[in-house]
Each structure stands twice: as structure tokens, then as C-alpha cells.
Amino acid sequence: MRYALRRTGFFALTLWAALTLNFLLPRLMPGNPAEAMIAKFHGTLTPAAVRALDVLFGVNTNQGLWSQYISYLHQMATLNFGTSLAYYPNSVSSEIGGAIWWTIGLVGVTTVLAFALGTLLGIVSAWRRGSRLDSVVPPVFVIASAVPYFWVAMMLILIFGITMHWFPYEFGYYVTTDKPGLNLTFFQDVLNHAFLPALSLLVTTIGTWILTMRNTMVTTLAEDYVRMARAKGLTGRRIMFDYAARNAILPNLTGFAMSLGFVVSGAILIEYVFNYPGVGNMLLYAVNSADYPLMQALFLLITVAVLVSILIADLLTALLDPRTRTAG
């Protein structure tokens, strides 16, 4: 219980740090970037929108830094992130609400797939240590860790999208011919469009799962109880899954909980390359069109998602592995 409280305390501290960072960054930069932004949209903004921007970025205000900070925190606590400038007059929250489901759908499903497939490959690779599979995995991982994600996506577009014409490589569905709705055509359309982005994510993230699982499994296989199982004459499959993998999967499981939070941040560049209508692409659009309210809110959203999942991963580890509870 004390462990859970300590982790929750750290969670709160980090959340506060992220909020404060968001508050200080635009104010620390030479020449407040928000001033240029407001000047650009001068006249089109309603007084209420200008007031929200004032609180967010501290423009044209004669308040001290401290009272600015208080009203900023208050505005954040009431989830008022202001008006989007790039999508004026829509509010930031409604814009994010429209985009987030695309990201959760694409990256969420792919993360589950990568986890399942990668863990299985890791188990087999460790079980057949020294086999062809096991000798191929580590060097491939070394190279994969150095390849930029977005470039993998571009190469897949080049091969499967442009050269072979197998899959579409832009947007979440055929924006000109199809209308979003609950019907089979639209569903197929979305799946078709998600294939290449999902493949790029799978290719770039699966290595971590394989390698983590393999390395823990190699250690577990050397344990006495595995030798004992062998001596009892159990089948290889039984030993592999019920004895070794079951105990080796913990790092991967907590890693899985954690990676669900990185769902939102991990796919930024891949969404950008595919022009996918998710929050990652939206973040870059906000940056490029100087829509700082949208950018700030997305950064906070991503940070909170990561923090929550790290908290869950910590608690999960404590639940599954009693040793961490006492050691912590």
C-alpha cells in the first residue's frame, strides 16, 4: 500500500512538472511566440478567446507571474484549453476529441499485435538458442533501432503503395468518395487505409518485444525448476510455455502497460507521413501553423497518457511480483 501511495505521489509530482513546463516554456523564450500568433489572428478572435489565450501564454497582461500561474492552473483544472487557431472557431478539446479515436484505433490495435507476435517470437528464439532464428534476431534489432521510423514508413509507401498499388497511403479513408458511417464499405475502407501505417509501426516496434522476452527467457531457462521439469520428462512445449515463459513474461507485461501510453506519442511521425487523421499528425499541424493552444493541449494529453500508463505498469508489477513491494 505504501508503495502504491509513493508511486501516486510521484505521478502527481510529474504531472505538476509537466504543467509548469507548459506554463514556463512560452514565457521563457525570447520574444513571446504567442504575441505573433495573436497579432496574426487579430480581429477574428472573440474577447473570450483572447482572454483564454492571455491566461495560457501571458500576453498583454499586467498581472504578475505568480497570479498568471494560478489562473493558468485553474484553467487547466477546468479542462479549458482555449480556442484552436488553425481550426477557428472550434475549441481545442473538440478538435482533439475528433482525432484521438483514429490514433487509439490504429496504434492501439497495432501495439497489441506487436506485443503478442513479438513475445511469441522472443519465446521461440530463446528456446531454440543458437538456432537460425536466434542468430538473426539480435543483428536485425541493432539495425532496426537505428532506422528512423518515418523512413521505414516512406519505404513501405514506395514499395506497397506506389510501385505495387496494393494499399492506399494517404488519409484515414477515401475522403473524396467515401463518407464516415457505420457501414461495411466504410469499415473496409478504414482497414485498407490503416494497413500500411500499422505495418510500419509493427516493423519498428516489434524488435523491443522480441529482445526483452528473449533475454529474460534465456535467464529463466537456466533456472533449476526448468531443469527439474526436464528431468520429469515433460514435453518441450509444456516447459517452454508453462514453466519458462510464464515466469519470464513479467518485464514484457509491464512494458506492454507502459507502451499503451506511448501509443499517442509513438506514432507522431508515422501519422505525419501517411497524413493520417490522428492526434500525432494534428500536433505537427498545430506546430507548423503556430496554433500554440492546440499544441500545448496535445503535449499535455500525451504526457498524461504516458504518466497514467507508467503508474498502471508500476502497480501491475507490484501486484504480480511480490518482491518489488518489499524492495521498493
Binding site: 506511448f262 505525419y272 500545448q296
Partner: protein
């Protein structure tokens, strides 16, 4: 180059690419044949050999780009969209620029960012990790919390926000922006290693001798951690390559400078893949991947030389066969 146990300043790593000091062999002295030892390490470890070969080539290209590519990378008076020829090894793009020359001249900026960010982040990591762990008390607690908080805030979105406000108009802004939030991971690693060292006898001996704290940290603690410090330099350099290229790719760099990330940005902006100029995007991305692989290979090699347990099992060795026989 300083041999292990002789270097006196914290960030005394060799420049990227020059093969690193050999494994921390637990004998003092013998500093005279350090070069011979490095040479032996490179020859006996395939990862080290390939990694240093990649580095040597890129460093040479970065130092003398004019010797390799005779065209001015910004000059745009060739025929547009030319294919591969002996005059233009990678062809030309739609502006009539020679792509080979852009790649060759773009090497310097990437390597500069990698080395400087690697050195700066490692210096901060050593300062925060080692000094904090050794001094203990309030300082250690404060530095530890800052490291942990920075560790869980998602790095790439944070970088996007920082660079979006700062406008990376020059390579120096880029270097500072990447350095500020990126040191926490290696600081954490160095810290936990330094904590295990704290109660060792040789440090106790130094304390009894009445040495000053600074002397103990610089002369006794840091040299013992050389291998981890070099590994931290290589890790951070790899991330600097990937982060800077990604930031430039999404348009947050200085679009008039010559570097691989900028070449990728212009290729994406002009839909190079869709308009039949695939090499415009393939070549710079492949170079990023190759340079990153160089850093990663050196890092793994360094780990293996220092920690024999990690060395891969060779397929034809007896140990592999035995484990398979056992599995059957």
C-alpha cells in the same frame, strides 16, 4: 588518447568513431599499449570492426566533403530529375541539384550534432549521476527526482514543443534544444552504477588517506566507470542523430542548411516518392540509418567486450548443440 584509469576530466571520451578504449581490464598500468589493445579488440569483435569502419568513412566524408563530391550541393543548374549516372551518382532532383553532393555535404552537420549532443548530455549525466550519487544527502535526492521526472515525460513531443517555441534557426539552437531534456536516461544508469561503487574498499581507502571529494570523484570513481560513460556517449549520439533528423524532417530545422534531415524534408515537401524521384528520400534516410547503426554497433561491441556474458552464442559451437540436444 587517454587510456582507462589515466583520464582525469569527466567527459574524456574519444571523439565518436575513433575506436573506444578496450574493455575495463582490471589491471592498472599498461597504458602504453592502449592503442594495441584497442586494435586487438576491434579485430576480435565483428560488431566493433563494422561499427568503427562505418564511423571512419563518415568522419572522413564530414571532414573532406569537397574531395568526394565536386558539385556544390546548393547549385541547381543541372537538368532536373536525372537518373543515376557516373556524373551524378544519385541523380538529380526536380530543382536540378546533385543529390550525391547533398548527401556528402550534409554529413558534417549530422555528425557535429551527434558528437556535441553526445558530449554535452554525457557531461551532464556524469555530473548529475555520479556526483549526486557520491555526495548523497539532499543534493542526491533533488537530482534524483529531477532525473526521474524528466525520464517519464515523453521526449520527442517535448522536443517538438521546445523547438517549436525556440525556432531552430541555427544548428547551435538545435544542439542546445536536444541536449536540455535528453540526458536523464544515461544519468539514471550512471547513478545506479555509482551507487554500487560508493561502499567499495578502494574509495574507503581514498577517504582514509584524506583525499578531497572532488579528487575522489574525478580520479577514483569516474575512471572506474569509463565503459558506462562511453556507452552513454554512444547512446546519446545515436538518439541525437535520430531526433535531429526527425525534427528537420517535419520542418522544424533551418530549411536552408545542408543536412540529411533537410534533404528528407524537401523530398517529402515535393512528394519525391510520388513524382518518380525516390532516391531523393531513400539516400538521406539510408545514411541516417547507417550512421545510427555505426553508433549502435560500437555500443553493443563495447558492452560485449566489457561483459562476456552478453556475447552471442555461435551457431556451430558445442554449447548451442548441447542446448538443442537437451531441448529435444
Amino acid at each position: 588518447m587517454a587510456a582507462p584509469y589515466v583520464s582525469t576530466t569527466p567527459p574524456a571520451e574519444p571523439p565518436a568513431g575513433t575506436p573506444i578504449e578496450a574493455a575495463p581490464i582490471p589491471s592498472r598500468g599498461q597504458s602504453g599499449n592502449a592503442l594495441a589493445r584497442i586494435w586487438r579488440a576491434i579485430r576480435s569483435n565483428r560488431k566493433a570492426a563494422v561499427g568503427s569502419a562505418i564511423m571512419v568513412v563518415f568522419i572522413f566524408v564530414a571532414l573532406f566533403p569537397g574531395l568526394i563530391a565536386h558539385d556544390d550541393p546548393e547549385q541547381d543548374n543541372y537538368a532536373p530529375k536525372m537518373g543515376i549516372s557516373t556524373a551524378h551518382l544519385f541523380g538529380t532532383n526536380q530543382y536540378g541539384q546533385d543529390l550525391f553532393s547533398q548527401i556528402v555535404h550534409g554529413t558534417r552537420e549530422v555528425l557535429l550534432i551527434a558528437v556535441l549532443v553526445g558530449l554535452a548530455t554525457t557531461a551532464i549525466a556524469v555530473l548529475v549521476g555520479v556526483a549526486g550519487a557520491y555526495l548523497g544527502g539532499l543534493w542526491d535526492n533533488a537530482l534524483g527526482v529531477i532525473t526521474d521526472v524528466l525520464l517519464v515525460i515523453p521526449l520527442f513531443p517535448l522536443l517538438i514543443v521546445i523547438v517549436a517555441y525556440a525556432h531552430a534557426t541555427s544548428v547551435w539552437v538545435m544542439i542546445v534544444a536536444i541536449t536540455i531534456p535528453s540526458w536523464s536516461y544515461t544519468a539514471r544508469q550512471l547513478r545506479s552504477q555509482a551507487l554500487t561503487l560508493r561502499s567499495r574498499d578502494f574509495l574507503e581507502a581514498a577517504r582514509v588517506r584524506g583525499e578531497r571529494r572532488l579528487y575522489i570523484i574525478v580520479v577514483e570513481v569516474i575512471p572506474t566507470m569509463t565503459s558506462l560513460i562511453v556507452a552513454s556517449f554512444l547512446t546519446n549520439a545515436l538518439y541525437a542523430v535520430l531526433f535531429s533528423s526527425s525534427l528537420q524532417f517535419i520542418g522544424l530545422g533551418n530549411s536552408s542548411s545542408v543536412s540529411w534531415g533537410e534533404t528528407l524534408y524537401w523530398a517529402q515537401n515535393n512528394a519525391a516518392l510520388q513524382t518518380g524521384q525516390p532516391l531523393w528520400a531513400i539516400a538521406p534516410g539510408a545514411c541516417v540509418a547507417l550512421l545510427g547503426t555505426g553508433f549502435a554497433l560500437l555500443n553493443y561491441a563495447f558492452d560485449e567486450i566489457g561483459n562476456p556474458a552478453l556475447r552471442p552464442v555461435r551457431r556451430h559451437r558445442r554449447s548451442g548443440r548441447r542446448s538443442r540436444a537437451r531441448a529435444a
